[in-house]
């Protein structure tokens, strides 16, 4: 459905996307994961033909991009990072007008709008003004708008950023139903739980490159020790250096917490038990651990 080969894109001499290749098969949910500035949004923009490539090849729905990007977009839906709903129209008018951009007759679009609104949980908001909607409602309307042309592929750029937990779960449900219908989903996110729940396969991007690509489960299994002990308390940094390092495979200290990654936690647990100032949390390794291991703990802005 989407085939990206050796994509390169620079802004002002800086390579924002630096040799990215991936394929997304029909019906797959594919995630692009990465810290801010990793090149995720630029990669999506290139795939949609909204910006010229410096090098590489892209085929979207079998059509070459950017040469035939406009034609390819007939079969594509987009949920952008920032809402760009039309504030001059009501909820329904937004859907009908957007369908017109695809050449869909207004009559057909008006007939379909209630279904889409029902799907997005906005059935009772058909005549509402855009500025009366909450952030979550706007996102769901944006998703409904991306479906007016019954697309084969959906591009979602950080679809739940800025939403509260309830609103995020509604979006996830909607996306899972779309995946079940056989739509191809391509999403960027920096929420690990989102990627882990939704994506069949994902790639971790950093500094314009893909540094790992697999199913969420295999990324965790292959890249990181299965058990994490998080140790808190006074003097944990020094204690971790002097004691923990010898007992587990890997230790990372961040602020007042030592993250200890291991296959065999027992010895360390016994050692912590002898230190009354320290508390420990034992949990399974997750995607966030993989992400931090791959991209580091430094803040990205």
């Amino acid at each position: 459905m989407l085939d990206v080969r050796r994509l390169v894109k620079s802004y002002g001499g800086r390579r924002v996307v630096d040799g990215v290749s991936f394929r997304v098969e029909r019906g797959e949910c594919f995630g692009l994961l990465g810290p801010n500035g990793a090149g995720k949004t630029t990669t999506l923009r290139c795939c949609l033909g909204l910006t010229a490539l410096d090098a590489g090849e892209i085929r979207l729905g079998g059509l070459p991009v950017p040469e035939a990007a406009r034609e390819a977009r007939y079969r594509v839906g987009v949920v952008p990072q920032f809402d760009n709903l039309d504030p001059d129209f009501t909820v329904t008018e937004n859907l009908v007008m957007y369908a017109r951009y695809f050449g869909i007759p207004a009559r057909e679009a008006r007939a379909r709008a209630p279904l889409l609104l029902e799907y997005a949980g906005l059935g009772d908001r058909a005549e509402a003004r855009i500025d009366s909607l909450s952030g979550g409602m706007k996102r769901r309307l944006t998703l409904a708008r991306a479906l007016v042309n019954d697309p084969d592929v959906l591009f979602l750029d950080e679809p739940t950023t800025g939403l509260d937990p309830q609103a995020r779960h509604l979006i996830w449900d909607a996306l899972r139903r779309l995946a079940k219908q056989g739509k191809t989903l391509i999403l960027t996110t920096h929420f690990m739980d989102e990627a882990e729940r939704l994506c069949d396969r994902l790639s971790v991007m950093d500094a314009g490159r893909i540094i790992a690509m697999d199913t969420p489960r295999r990324l965790i299994e292959s890249l990181i020790e299965p058990i994490v002990l998080e140790i808190y308390g006074e003097g944990v940094a020094g204690w971790a250096q002097s004691h923990a390092r010898a007992l587990v495979e890997r230790v990372e200290v961040s602020g007042e917490t030592a993250f200890c990654y291991t296959r065999a936690p027992d010895e360390l647990l016994q050692a912590v038990a002898r230190e009354p100032a320290l508390r420990v949390l034992r949990r399974a390794a997750n995607l966030e651990d993989v992400f931090i291991k791959l991209t580091g703990r430094d803040i990205r802005d």
């Binding site: 459905m1 802004y11 059509l63 406009r70 039309d86 001059d88 951009y101 050449g103 869909i104 084969d152």
Partner: protein
Amino acid sequence: MTDAALPARTHGEILPLRCLHLVQRNFLVWRKLMLTSLMGNLAEPLIYLVGLGYGIGALIGEIDGRPYITFLAAGMICYSTMNSASFEALYSAFARLQIQRTWEGVLHAPLTSDDVVIGEWLWAGLKALFSGTAILLVMYGFGIVSGIAPLAVLPVTLLVGLAFSGMALVMTALARSYDFFTYYFVLLVTPMTFLSGIYFPLRQLPDIAQQVAWCLPLAHAASLARGLTLGDPMPWPVLSVGVLLLYALAGVTLAAWLVRRRLNR
């Protein structure tokens, strides 16, 4: 394994007319606020027409053997046409480009930035036509014009609208904020109004100013409008249409290029 190329679902769309989706969008929004918008478009030129026409007119007496208000009214058609197209293609278009991100949304659909710019250009031209029509109706109401001959000015108002819409879209494509448009008005539009025979005949100006005026679109617009509504002699009707066409086409072409560069980064 490769995907077969998907047929584009075009719903029988005629491709060069894609820009009309933008015209339709703007028309539907305008229709919601039509009365307010028309009032706004009409009020200012009407105030000028009545205020200057009767006030200054009483002092001036006649110009070329007719009341000053008659002379001024033909100029007001051009003035309101120019303003209407300029405001739409500057402030409203900039809102859709930068503030509301409307154009971004449209570009996620199967439209290109050229479609968007051409659509906005046509729309601002049409809005100018609405304004020109409103002023012409007022002229009929005041008894300044009569018969059907003055209706010939309407296609000219569309052309004048397209000329100013093209120029304004160039500014919009370059603008980072609304403040930028102040320069356009202060440095170009307002001086041009005084140079172009809107408030007083062009012949009052020194030769050099007249020569500058004839390089600008508004003098040609005023010349055509007076000729067509009042029957004044038009020095170069074909050249005037040509100059307006040139501004219109050069403007939209340059604007399309600039917007492509701005959005396809």
